[in-house]
Assembly symmetry: C2
Homo-oligomer: 156 residues x 2
């Protein structure tokens, strides 16, 4: 979670949701509920999520897809627009090089947000994605109306 | 959507959510909202979902995972328990043979629910999953496919 005023970025919060072993529905519920709490607490205006690159095994890909689906649901059920960025876009935006290494991204996250400590790897990834959105995605009028449907005069 | 009273199953409703081409978040939102409407309308007590078998390409697997994640989220955010069944379990429960063909499953769905028409393939799959849950998941033992009576040309 970062804050943007004019061109100034400020760190607000970061973290990760860890689900215990258990049945899939309850694990997805935990993701949904935890992110809903974060959204309720910080009232973000935008949500950005990394577009995952899948070269893993099918079972893991399916699991990742389900977790990602739950994370996106937490945003859209709170009427937030979700923007997706590839790792390449994020690295390009944060480091200036789409093929930057992971630790370079993390270092730039620490610098850009003037952090006094290092966030966890997952939290750094999320912050990098937020920085990418703050730099490139905002103010570009990227509102997708395809796939939406009108109901009782509202876009749903 | 089916109704169960004692050992009697009754068809309530069925359908499928179709999302238009568009950005993923809005498509997931459509699944979430449509299923939430269905849940609000029919107030089910249980939700059953097929455990998907993934032998497709990674991109499709990820997409399927995200859609499935959104469907499960619709259930859990409405505080419904979700049970998962493999295709084998569903076929076993509905046809009595885990390796039954798709059209055999569809025929049994039509018979067991005394449908006058044929539901779409996807709707039939969902109804089969519901029947599986109604028979096996609720602790009442597996369905017997022998010993049904014919009544006015239908299996009862």
């Amino acid at each position: 979670m970062i804050d943007k005023s004019e061109s100034n970025l400020t760190y607000v919060s970061s973290g990760s949701v860890k689900t215990l072993a258990g049945e899939l529905p309850s694990r997805l519920k935990l993701i949904l509920n935890n992110l809903s709490e974060v959204i309720a607490q910080y009232q973000p205006e935008h949500v950005a999520i990394e577009q995952v690159f899948v070269n893993i095994n099918p079972k893991t890909t399916l699991l990742l897809g389900q977790a990602r689906g739950a994370a996106i649901c937490a945003a859209v059920m709170n009427d937030l627009m979700v923007s997706e960025y590839t790792a390449l876009q994020i690295k390009q935006a944060v480091v200036g090089n789409g093929h930057a290494k992971k630790n370079q991204v993390q270092e730039m996250v620490v610098r850009l947000l003037r952090l006094t400590g290092s966030p966890s790897a997952d939290a750094a990834d999320a912050l990098a994605c937020a920085i990418c959105h703050a730099h490139g995605g905002l103010g570009l009028g990227r509102i997708a109306t395809t796939g939406y449907r009108m109901k009782r005069g509202r876009l749903v």
